[in-house]
Symmetry: C2
Subunit: 161 residues, 2 copies
Amino acid sequence: MRWLNAEEQQVWRAFMTAVTKFTDHLDRQLQRDSGMPMAYYEILVALSEAPGRALRMSELASVCHSSRSRLSHAVARLEKEGWVERRACPSDRRGSIAALTEIGFGVLEAAAAGHVTAVREHLFDVLTPAQLRSLAEISRAVDAGLTTECANVRREEFADL
Amino acid sequence: MRWLNAEEQQVWRAFMTAVTKFTDHLDRQLQRDSGMPMAYYEILVALSEAPGRALRMSELASVCHSSRSRLSHAVARLEKEGWVERRACPSDRRGSIAALTEIGFGVLEAAAAGHVTAVREHLFDVLTPAQLRSLAEISRAVDAGLTTECANVRREEFADL
DNA sequence: CGGCCGTTGTTGAACCTTCAACCAGGATGC
DNA sequence: GCATCCTGGTTGAAGGTTCAACAACGGCCG
């Protein structure tokens, strides 16, 4: 078992502190100004960018990195607000399609300005161009590490079959 | 209103994807292997490092970047598990002190190994030393941007008094 | 066709977080 | 001393997430 040395500890804590404070800030901003948490905002964004502003639940889940259960609950709420509506899927009778309504699109447009401003103010404006490039690389590396990990887990699961 | 250009969008999405997947992974690991979410783990860590393994609630809240309400609920749960106990504060009769129990310390020790392994595996092992230094700088910059922001908000609030 | 398995999506319970309201105790000013 | 305000901490309700269980459908192979 290899523990973190002093320097690693510092990086780790600085990172976690920044991330929690940052996401907390964004979440609060959206909740306050637009009445939805960031996860719900991401759902609306994903739908708005899809062809026909509609997606099957499972695709939406994978785009948003959300579990199907979470998405199901979330869409139920968004539907109650009238921002999203559910349709039957013509090609697969199990399927369900979530579609952004006009009202939902308007709400998203209204929410976007404040959200983007917050992101710019607390991320892009406090970092140099070099740091931004570095952050992109770092993010991709971490992401890749997590995806291959999942693949490895699967490999292990099936190793003895 | 200045939107994000294509390059900024890429950085932003890569970053959010990495962060959500990474924290999700850590949270799930801790929940599965030790029966607590990461926020609760952080509370135990903070207490274990405090003199006498005890802290006043408000100090604990600030160390953990948690709201007092959240901490109160969390400590209630930790107390029910027998991992933490509450004591009266001698110097301030409003105060409440959370103290790590022996059992709690043992649980923390048991949880730490798996958690640190996960952090090392998905953060330190996938980044180069230069990237780690860069990540530390970036984190500090973002953190600083958020703290001065709060100060600014306060200044605005009281500007006309 | 019929059985079996994997996938899709939903549901309810348990848990965590947030928010607003609140009580109790310190601190300040008169 | 007392009114006022601020701080420390808790509480309950409302909302969000997770997990396990489930129903319904598609795909595959005999």
